[in-house]
Amino acid sequence: MRSGDFKETYADLIVLSDSRLVWAWAGVLVVALVVAPFVVNAYVLSLLTLVLITVTGALGLNLLTGLTGLISLGHAGFLLLGAYGYAIVVAKHNLHPLLGFLAAGVAPALFAIVVGLPSLRLRGLYLAITTLAFSYIISDLILEAKSITDGARGITVQRPEFFGLDFSSDPSFALLCAFVAAVALFACLNIQRSRIGRAFMAIRDNDIAARTMGVNLQAFKLYAFMTSAFITGIAGALMGIYLSFVSVEGFPFLFSIEALAILIVGGLGSALGAVLGTVFIVLLPEAIRILFSWFGGALESLLSTGVHEVKSIAYGVAIILFLRFEPRGLVGVWRDAKRLWTHWPLKY
């Protein structure tokens, strides 16, 4: 068992984690992430890259839906805006990739004000429908604004190169994605342990009490929308670069559902949950693919013709099963396991 908590200073009380073990594991994970892209095969590398990009997007949605309790079905819209923000700045106007990433965050954040303002009084289903409509409006806008976006033609995007670093190879691009995911995770954990994150949580759990504590509900809901959109937009840019082509079809509505599934499976409101949920949901179709290939024949051909449909069904089933049997998500399972581990053989 670990010894009791005795803190010497108040600074010790606000650290991200007071456990050496947690920091040690985090270190191991970082090293593994740096080494892995150069040793694993191409297939595993593509999955790893996808996980890292998706984690960033899921962390973005978690701020809004998990932490602030504002449901969004328009997440794909923010991804799309981020991808186009980057593509327009870098591919069409040949500006610096870092400016591209900035645009990929700022453009969705600005649009988040547009969708956020009318959403301030909406909750639950109404907010879900509004954000859903928003994502379709974004698709239409992009298709219509041909002079800026090239409309339905889409924009081809190269892998970036900056500060003498070349991210054109798959392993190095995976490293870039890992770096972005790590920064996003760090930012989210920091927000959660500061006044902003607590205000978000307060709005989610009891908005009247939050307001009585002086939380300006309108302002903080907008902050949640904007921060969430910013992080999501960065993920969108990485996605666009990864696909090397940005188009409306590349960011289907299914992405919004996938992101929600990740949060529910991982555990709403937890950054760690977003990470666990991403791994689960990204690998789920792969697991199904392997399962189907064992059965061969009809099932295997079903997957090759209707991969989109199979994915949708799998996400739906995962959402239902977790809501029914483990509403705290994987992070709840993780905490139970940890408690069991630290306190074994004692019960509590």
Partner: protein, 269 residues
């Protein structure tokens, strides 16, 4: 210390045809412990909702610290110096005790989203200061044992105490307590009564409280205001109120309101 901290001037709030708060006027002096009593449905909580910005008055004025705050934005009331607890628990139930109390420090911290994301400089300094203040309050209210517990899992009495802690973290000038001791046992009730006195005497906070427990009211209040059917029917020292015939009527319901036919007094509309 003679100027009133809070002045209510013909404060009124209607819900459709129901006058939940009707032309209520009274002052609360600085450093006072003032109680609001009245039968169920008398409009006590509605009155608190008006004073804390949760509800807007239909008419009348609220003066706080000499300024008219009737039309202030709801989120401003905390910064003005008005803190409160809720009759039905209104905690952030997924957070720990410390996290809940830290929300009370919201108005005393200023970090932006960007600063918070990086957690350097100002954010770090603010968080340390906030945490220090919270530990002070935790000690003051004797809730050290539960500080890391998730509030949803605490007993009712403990949750009430966390609410009090959260309100204190705002460092209000005026603290509104809505039925703190309802549902508490004798010992918990005495603890709370002692805390209320300490809050006034040691922290210098003026207290306005709604209370059904008459022993607590009579023991620690400097003054008592009595509501019935939204109207103030009496006000004064505990002794004055105790012997006021209108108060006895309201509580015993013998005659109801003078304008009402007998027997309809119990619960209003």
């Amino acid at each position: 210390m003679t100027a009133p901290l809070l002045q209510l001037d013909a404060l009124t709030r209607t819900f459709g045809g129901l006058r939940a708060v009707s032309e209520v006027s009274f002052d609360v002096m600085r450093g006072e412990i003032c109680s609001v009593i009245g039968p169920n449905g008398a409009g006590k909580t509605s009155l608190f909702n008006l004073i804390s910005g949760v509800l807007r008055p239909t008419s009348g004025r609220i003066l706080f610290d000499g300024a008219d705050i009737t039309r202030e934005r709801p989120a401003r009331f905390a910064s003005l110096g008005i803190g409160r607890t809720f009759q039905n628990l209104a905690l952030f139930k997924h957070g720990t005790v410390v996290e809940n109390i830290l929300v009370g420090r919201h108005i005393h911290t200023k970090s932006s989203v960007l600063e918070s994301a990086f957690f350097f400089g100002r954010t770090r300094a603010e968080e340390i200061a906030a945490r220090e203040k919270v530990e002070e309050i935790v000690e003051f209210l004797e809730i050290e044992q539960i500080r890391d517990a998730v509030v949803g899992q605490l007993s009712y009495g403990q949750q009430k105490r966390v609410e009090l802690a959260r309100a204190l973290a705002c460092e209000p000038k005026l603290l509104l307590l809505d039925e703190m001791v309802s549902g508490m046992n004798q010992e918990e009730t005495e603890d709370i009564a002692r805390f209320v006195l300490d809050i006034r005497d040691e922290l210098g906070i003026t207290v306005l409280m709604i209370e059904h427990d008459m022993r607590v009211v009579m023991d620690i209040s400097d003054r008592v205001q009595v509501l019935n059917f939204g109207q103030k029917i009496a006000g004064g020292t505990p002794d004055q109120v105790r012997n006021d015939p209108a108060v006895l009527d309201a509580y015993l319901g013998r005659r109801g309101r003078p304008s009402e036919p007998a027997g309809s007094a119990a619960h209003g509309l």
